[in-house]
């Protein structure tokens, strides 16, 4: 049985919790958190499994496959992201927030929403690769370390989001 649906945590408390996890990563590992790199490792492994010659001839995939001595899925970020899924599931179950659903505003159709989700994911992959990290690996991690590129990146994420918001209003409101 699911417990009743509970309201979200105060954003400042959740932020402190997230910040302490990030601080623990710095102190224990000497690196921050991330997400997009796990997708890159997984994709490199997939392409290598389906078309090994193609993957090994590609400079990008080759970077993740290495000399073949280590399995591409035996990567720090892959383990971390599996943890993210587990942690989110634990929190969601405790708060009664696990539901199979499509998130969208009242005016958007499910098909349009899913199409946008796919397109947004593709854009995100490009942005994260150009920036050498996403909101986790760059904005959050580099933000706390006062990394120059991370702050430039973070400001531009908000600029890009607000610039595109008006055109996507139909999907959310």
């Amino acid at each position: 049985m699911m417990p009743p649906r509970r309201p979200y945590m105060n954003p400042y408390l959740a932020g402190i919790g997230l910040g302490l996890v990030l601080l623990a990563a710095f102190v224990i590992m000497g690196r921050g958190l991330g997400a997009s790199g796990a997708f890159s490792s997984t994709m490199s492994w997939l392409v290598n499994a389906v078309a090994p010659e193609h993957a090994q001839a590609n400079e990008y995939f080759q970077g993740y496959l290495g000399d073949g001595s280590t399995h591409p899925l035996k990567a720090w970020l892959v383990f971390e992201v599996i943890g993210v899924a587990a942690g989110a599931l634990i929190s969601g179950l405790l708060a009664g927030r696990v539901h199979v659903t499509v998130e969208k505003g009242p005016r958007a159709s499910t098909a349009a929403r899913l199409l946008c989700a796919f397109a947004g994911g593709m854009l995100m992959a490009f942005g994260a690769h150009l920036a050498r990290g996403c909101t986790s690996g760059q904005a959050l991690t580099g933000g706390a370390l006062l990394n120059v590129g991370s702050w430039a990146f973070m400001i531009m994420v908000f600029v890009g989001g607000y610039a595109a918001a008006w055109f996507m209003r139909w999907q959310w409101r």
Binding site: P11, I28, W76, L89, K104, L130
Partner: protein, 196 residues
């Protein structure tokens, strides 16, 4: 005691993967707690009626920043051993812009999409498939754009170094900007909330 523990040889590579899993659980837990398992809540940041993304992100940044600063000052953390992503200014500016647009269209960023698909969101599953597709396309075009991606290199560099000001001063400035931002964000939420 000297940290980072891993860099000072307290444990090895195999153990570091278990650490990754444990840290990930904490990360995912607080993402979901904050409401970031919901694309509507995340997108609301860009429509100004719920600025939780800004509040959570900047509280986390300030918390971790004050933590590393303090631990560095008392000599427990060797900040030089904490990995900094090198700066390639123009590619990262463009990357941020593309990612921001992708955020509003897709409703997630990579980390929050994992928290969302784990809590049942179908659109987050489709979004993750989009990341895989985008990664594949990126890999295919990488040779053609490699020169741009690796351009404008500044190395591993921090704001205090670039502007030649003390670390503590930048920390202080970030805290002031964050607090002012929190006040402004709440004011905007009330204003937009009052209109609609």
């Amino acid at each position: 005691m000297m940290t980072p523990l891993y860099k000072y040889g307290f444990f090895g590579d195999e153990m570091s993967l278990l650490v990754a899993f444990a840290l990930g659980i904490g990360f995912g837990f607080f993402l979901e707690r904050a409401g970031f398992g919901s694309a509507r809540k995340l997108a609301a940041q860009f429509y100004l009626y719920d600025m939780s993304v800004f509040k959570v992100m900047f509280t986390a940044i300030v918390t971790a920043m004050l933590g590393v600063t303090y631990l560095g000052w008392i000599g427990w953390l060797d900040l030089g051993q904490v990995y900094l992503v090198p700066t390639f200014l123009r590619p990262q500016i463009l990357g941020g812009l593309v990612l921001g647009v992708g955020f509003v269209i897709g409703g997630y960023c990579p980390g929050t999409s994992v928290a969302s698909l784990a809590t049942g969101r179908i659109d987050a599953v489709v979004y993750a498939l989009g990341i895989f597709a985008g990664t594949f396309v990126y890999a295919e075009v990488y040779p053609a754009i490699k020169d741009f991606v690796n351009s404008d290199s500044m190395g591993q560099v921090t704001l205090p170094e670039v502007f030649d000001v003390p670390w503590g001063l930048v920390v202080f400035a970030v805290v002031i900007i964050a607090v002012a931002g929190f006040w402004g964000a709440s004011a905007v939420e009330r204003w937009i909330g009052g209109k609609s």
